[in-house]
Structures are given as structure tokens and as C-alpha cells.
Symmetry: C2
Subunit: 476 residues, 2 copies
């Protein structure tokens, strides 16, 4: 695999060409043989693994336990909640043959697990003492897609899905909000991706939910990416699946539920947001390799010193790799690791070795410094922290600069054509208005931000009374 820069389209010129190419050249992912599927190669999967390790810890600390429910859901289960089945019907993969025989009841490959989990919950819950049920699973789900957009749109994706049942609506709402808070923290601190937290419109909420919270981040071409969601399911599913419990007073009640999910789609957002014309820029906290060490030649002394430095960094908890491939020039190797987005690069030449020095290069800014060997550890540690926070700051600036407001529909259309980004505007919350705006501008209602203050104005489209400024954007 060659890593010549000329193979890579410029990010600044064509985002999607750049993205498709860089993801493959960097060996993050590849297309699977069946339509809509993808292969997570080790370098790409490792990003997901680092994320899951961190998030799993948060989930467990909140008292949520992991479990695993079957991949196959009987068709009749999915049909029990009307809105739910309507929402998912067009996206299903269906098993009709098992063990060489036509099945009497078709099996759905789970697109999400509400129905199969809540059927089990109904058997496990009898009294208030059996609540809350706090269960999460890390698994694969399938929602049919004809065309793969690596990480961002795939028939099969990996995710976690949390599913809880509570004695009161208040507790359930707290859980829903905890999940979104945990996601937002993860996006900011690990992905270095700021975003808007808010409530989805009635049309865009999860099929079967009372209300959906979303985290919307903004991609370089000004389009929104829905990054994860957290749902208040109310008693919609508990009534259908009969999750009933006797409360402390002995009365029979239906449980209050939440579900919340975070998927490998997020990795697509990470890659798309931070890269540049030379390739990927992976934030240190999710970088499979945080520092690459390149001996300029394959001279034994350089290679030995490189390994020694690698050991030192590894012992400090840095994820490090030495690349001393003899058949690749130093220039080739520099390009390769720039393309792969490793945050810190160390170059060690003969002269530097003699002087007890080495060169440290930041991937994000290209900034170079020559330091003494003694400063290696502290310099790398500090740089990794700095790069992580600088990447977040850069994205925050981008988000602020690309969040606009208007009360005029002509301006609305113009912004969506020319600048895109997040656009705040009064909206009457009528589905017809929502549909017309989408038809005319391609923009969809992304969310009502959680920090939006109650106010009064006129709908940007129809001029009717509106109580809230919603956020609109083009979206993936």
C-alpha cells in the first residue's frame, strides 16, 4: 500500500472524496462484500475499542450492568408497538431459512432491541423491589442500506444500547438525561467534537419514544451529524409488553422506560471533522498510536535508540510505535503517518543522536521542535494534552462561527444554500411547515437546544405564533 499524498484528494476541495479515500488509505476500514456493509480493520477498530473502554467504565459506574440479548427477534415482537414497527419496517433484514428449513415465523435481525428486551423485562419485574432495571449491551445491529458510506452509513453497525425500566417517570427522565450528559462529555473530551444537545421534533424522534434527546455535531461542509440519542419511552413499551409492578402501596403500575445508543457512526464524525489535506488528525485520547518514532535511516544505533525511547514512552502509558521499515524512505514514512493521523511524530537522525537531540512534530499544526533526549517523556505527555484541547478549541470556534440565526425565510434559504451550518429560527412546530422547509431548503429540524429559553416569535416559514427557536441544518 503506497501513501503518496497525490493519491489523496484535497479535503478542502472535496470532502467526501477525501473521506472515502483517506479511510481506506489509512487502513481504517474497507468495503464488505454485501451491499451496505463495511470491514473495521484493526487500526479503525482500535479507535472504537478505546472509546468503548472509556464509555463502558462510565456506564458501569452509573450502576448499569452489561448483558446480551439475542440477535434474532420474532417478527411478531416488532409488530407490537405500532410506531416502532412503522419506523423500522423499511430497514429490516429478515431471516426466512434456518437449519435448512423455511421458518414458520420470520426472524428479524435486530435493528435495535427494545422489543426483545422488554418482553424479557416483563417476566423479570413483579414488585418495586425488582426496579430499576439498568441494562446495557454492546452489540451489532442491522438497518438496511444500499450504499455504504464508511462508518457513517452502514447496514450493520456496532453500538451500545442502554435499556432501563423505572418505578417513576422522574427517575426515567433523570436516566435519559444522565445518558445524554455522558455522551456529550465523551464527545467533547474524547472526540474533541463540540455539539448541540437538544430535543428532537415529533417527526424526527425515535419510533416509539415520547421524546428524544440528540447530540448534533457539525461537519466541515456545514452539515449536521446526529451523533447519538437518548429516549424517554414513557410507558409506551411497558404497556405493550406488560412490564407491570406492584408499587409500595400494593398498586399495579406500568414501568417507565428509557433507551439510549451510541454507535460506530461516531468514528466517522471524528475522522471527518479533524483531518486536513495531508490526511487524518486523530485526537490523542482516541488515537490507536499516539506517537510514532521514525529513525531517519535503518542504522542500527538509530533503531536501537528508537526502541529505547519507545519503551520509555510505553512505560509512561503512551501508545507508541517505531517504524523502521528499510524499504521505505523517511519521506515516505512521514507521509504515511501523517495520513494515518498520529498526533505526535518523532524523527531521529544520525546528527541528532550524536547531539543527544530529537525532533518532535505535531500532526495538527505541523509545528516542529528539537529537544534533548532527557525531555522526551514530559514533552510528549504535554503535547498530547495540548493537541487534544487545541483540537476541541478549533472545533468550538468552527461551531460558533457556523451557528447563525434568522427570522427571514429568504435569508434562511440563502444561508442553507451558501453557508449551511446550524441555523436558529422560530418554528411553529407544525409538521407541515417542517416538511415544506425540508422540501425547499433540504434543511431538517435538528433539535430544540436544551439551553433554549422560552420566548415568543413568528415561525420563519408560515409566520404563525412560535414559542421556541429550533436549530435547522442539512444533515447526513
Amino acid at each position: 500500500m503506497a501513501f503518496e499524498k497525490k493519491q489523496l484528494p484535497k479535503k478542502s476541495e472535496s470532502l467526501s472524496d477525501w473521506y472515502n479515500r483517506v479511510v481506506q488509505l489509512a487502513e481504517l476500514a474497507d468495503y464488505g462484500p454485501a451491499k451496505g456493509t463495511m470491514i473495521f480493520r484493526p487500526y479503525g477498530y482500535r479507535i472504537w475499542e478505546l472509546l468503548t473502554e472509556a464509555m463502558d467504565k462510565e456506564i458501569k459506574e452509573a450502576g448499569v450492568e452489561n448483558a446480551y440479548f439475542p440477535l434474532f427477534i420474532p417478527e411478531s415482537f416488532l409488530k407490537k408497538e405500532k410506531q416502532h414497527v412503522e419506523g423500522f419496517a423499511p430497514e429490516l433484514a429478515v431471516v426466512t431459512i434456518g437449519g435448512g428449513e423455511e421458518l414458520t415465523e420470520k426472524l428479524i435481525v435486530r435493528p435495535t432491541s427494545e422489543t426483545i428486551m422488554y418482553d424479557a423485562y416483563s417476566k423479570w419485574v413483579h414488585s418495586w423491589r425488582d426496579l430499576p432495571i439498568l441494562i446495557n449491551q454492546w452489540n451489532n445491529v442491522v438497518r438496511w442500506e444500499k450504499r455504504t458510506y464508511l462508518f457513517l452509513r452502514t447496514s450493520e453497525f456496532l453500538w451500545q444500547e442502554g435499556h432501563t425500566a423505572h418505578a417513576t417517570h422522574k427517575e426515567a427522565l433523570e436516566m435519559q438525561s444522565w445518558a445524554m450528559g455522558m455522551y456529550a462529555k465523551t464527545y467533547r473530551e474524547l472526540f474533541a467534537l463540540p455539539g448541540l444537545v437538544g430535543r428532537k421534533s415529533e417527526k424526527e424522534k425515535f419510533a416509539g419514544a415520547v421524546a428524544t434527546l440528540t447530540y448534533e455535531s457539525l461537519m466541515p461542509e456545514g452539515k449536521a451529524l446526529q451523533s447519538c440519542t437518548s429516549h424517554d419511552l414513557g410507558q409506551n413499551f411497558s404497556k405493550v409488553f406488560e412490564i407491570k409492578f406492584q408499587d409500595k402501596e400494593g398498586k399495579l403500575q406500568y414501568a417507565w422506560q428509557t433507551s439510549w445508543g451510541f454507535s460506530t457512526r461516531s468514528v466517522g464524525g471524528l475522522l471527518m471533522a479533524h483531518g486536513d489535506d495531508a490526511g487524518l488528525v486523530i485526537p490523542p485520547r482516541l488515537a490507536p498510536i499516539q506517537t510514532v518514532i521514525l529513525p531517519v535511516t535503518s542504522d542500527t544505533k538509530l533503531v536501537e535508540k528508537s526502541r529505547e525511547m519507545a519503551k520509555q514512552l510505553t512505560d509512561m502509558g503512551v501508545r507508541v510505535k517505531v517504524d523502521d521499515r528499510e524499504d521505505e524512505s523517511i519521506g515516505f514514512r512521514i507521509n504515511k503517518w501523517e495520513l494515518k493521523g498520529v498526533p505526535v511524530r518523532i524523527e531521529l537522525g544520525k546528527r541528532e543522536l550524536e547531539n543527544g537531540e530529537l525532533t518532535v512534530v505535531r500532526r495538527d499544526t505541523g509545528e516542529k521542535q528539537v529537544i534533548s533526549h532527557a525531555k522526551l517523556g514530559p514533552t510528549v505527555k504535554e503535547l498530547l494534552v495540548t493537541i487534544q484541547s487545541d483540537l476541541l478549541a478549533k472545533q468550538e470556534k468552527f461551531l460558533t462561527e457556523n451557528t447563525r440565526e434568522t427570522g427571514n425565510y429568504e435569508e434562511f434559504k440563502k444561508i442553507m444554500e451558501e453557508k449551511r451550518g446550524f441555523l436558529k429560527a422560530y418554528w411553529c412546530e407544525d409538521a407541515e411547515c417542517e416538511a415544506k422547509i425540508k422540501e425547499e431548503t433540504k434543511a431538517t429540524v435538528r433539535c430544540l437546544p436544551e439551553d433554549a429559553k422560552f420566548s415568543q416569535g413568528k415561525c420563519v416559514k408560515c409566520g404563525k405564533e412560535a414559542r421556541n427557536k429550533w436549530v435547522f441544518a442539512l444533515a447526513y
Copy 2:
């Protein structure tokens, strides 16, 4: 959920009744709605999680990287390796509808991933520099079953599958052997389950392999459980999928491959081997809860002291839980945690608290000791180590006592009827003999143990020349 002992059939009287009941009563697992499926409840899934954490570390240390390949395999892929498809055809789940449309090519829900992975490998490998490829994945696979035996026989199970490609057969054989060594170590050290490592017969080897290594453990009723396998695939798949590379001399060669897998079936073996009439006995290293602390009453002082002790043990790295449910008597709670197999139980009564003492009980032997509070930490730590090694010693004794040898077919039949266990006997390695033995005794060839010395004798069945003593047993 009640935990009265009378609900539990005696293990000593009916192993499978005991097993089915205890797995559900202990809240380890439940039946899924579709045939052959199961739900891993949090307490059961945690055992698998503890195992995967430990094994994933070993796998990574060996330089193998995790990746993720698609769930759906085009039917044509599976058909490429003739033996492979013949072996798996009767067990397949097939997706025929996707996104509301009949598919032009059926998709197989992976029963194992050789074919889809090796198709990708063929695109990634060009030169000897691209080898070895060392990839593992943790995922779900489906092999159709009509009747669920919780953990032990399920249509969908969880596992890891390692898939490697090498430049030489020697390297591949080393990898195959490394994997089995890692499995055997895991079984002994974590599962406290000794077993036989050996080679499978031609009939019993993996469909498409040159040779299969297996780890066979022995369950209480004297039946063998195939616990995991590691395959030398030779060039069988690389020739079919065209995994070719230019060697150092510039010659085109086919890669040498291995695959190896370890599944949730192992958890079934763990549970079945170590329990007793009172319920499960989970070896400390895989116990979700290693120590349970029971205040005898819900007296505030007892509960407070219990929590204080729990914190102390948690800080020492012990997985601990306080059970102070007011609505359950101390007797009820003792039964519950015995049934759930927690290795160490601590009871704290009012008198004990006043005397600065507490009672520590071993789940495996029932042994009780009263110790001072000051000794809590060291006592628990030591007990967990002792219990782990005592459980292994007990199983080793069982294995030794139930491994027999015979040269006489009448005796062979008698042993298989009355005592079962592992039975060593000369076998001519003829498939017809193998089939007859199975028909007449239900015993199958389990393996040729790796430590078997080359010798000469007469086949126990047909009397023809035989070069090796193989191990026979009834099996799950």
C-alpha cells in the same frame, strides 16, 4: 424470584435438571423467544466479560489485533471451500429479504468468518512484508439449533475467532499451538478446569482444516465437553481465496493459515463442573461477585459496618457486594448467595460486631471461621487464592480417576455404559471403525492427546494395526 433450595433438583441425582434450573434461578441466563436462542443476563454475562478481559490481554500481547468483519456473508463465498460449506450447510441461518426487497443473492449469517475474512486478506496481501496478518474478532455467530441447552448449545453464541496468515507452514503451526496453549492456560487458571489437549480425528476436525487441536474437559456425568479448538488450515483457504504473496526471492506463494475460537459454551462447562446440590460454585477468578457481605439483620450499625468492610475489600481489588435486603431473612439470603455460587460469604451479627469479629464461610467446602475485623482483608485475599487452586485440584482428581484405558472392546462398551469418562484405546484411524464404535457405544473419538507417545498395538474395535492410543468419550 425466590431462592428456596427445594426448588433446585439435586446435582448428584439429575445433572441436567439441576443445570437448567440453577442457571435460571441464579439469574445467569434465560431462554430467548426464537428457537435455540438464549439471553445472557447481567450475572451470567459478567462471567464472559471477565474471561474476555483476561483473554483479550493475552491475545494483544501476542501481537494479534482486533478487527470486525460483517455479520452477513454472501452465499457464494461460503461455497468456495467445498468441505467448509458441506460442514456448515445444515446449520445456517439465511437472510433472504433486506430493506423490504427479496435479495438477489442470499446472505448467510456468519457461522464462522473464514470466508469473508480471507476474501479481504487476499486484497491486503501482496508481498512477504504484508505478512503475518494476525487478526482476532470478538463477535456473535449463528449455527442453527432447535433446542437450547443454556450456554452449552445455542443457535447464537458469542466467541472470539482468531484468523492468521503466514509466510510459512512452520509459523502457522506455531500460531496454532500458541492459541491452544493460551486456551489451556485459561481453562486451568481461570476456569479451574483441567482437560486434555490433543488432535481431532479426520472426521471430527474443522470443516476445511488440515488439522484441529482441541481442549476436552470432562463434565460430572462423565461426558466430554469440547471447549475450544485451534486449526491448521494449511493452504486450503488461501488457494481458494487467492491469498498470494511474493516471497523474498520474488516467487509467488500461497499463505499458510490458522483459525482458533473460544466461545460462551465454555461458561456452561464452568457452571456444570463446579456446582453442588446447593447451587453454583464459581471459581474466584471468574466470579462476578467474589465476596458477599450479609449483615444478619438490618440494624443500622451492622449495615454501616458491612459497607465499611465492602469498601475496604473493594480497595484491595476484590469484587464485593453487601446484601442488606430487609425483606429477606438471613437464612434466605445465605441460600440465595450459595445458589449464586459466590466463593466467600461474610456474615456479621450483633454479637460479632460487639466482639470485633465476623464469620467467613467458604462456598466450596462450607468451612466456617470466625476472625477479627483486622484480619478481614488478608483472610479474604488468601481464601480466594486457595479456593481457586482447590477447585482445580478437585477437578484434576476427578479427571485422573475418570481416565481409563482398555484393549478389550467388551470392556470398552461396559465402561461407556457404566462409568463413562475418558477412555484411552488403540484405534486404527479408520473412519468406518470410528462410526461403528459410535453406533455401538455412543462414544466418539475425542482426540489424540498431544503427549501421546508413538507406540504400536491393535485397534480396540477391529484388531487391525494401530499406531496411537486415542481418547474416546460420550460428548455433548
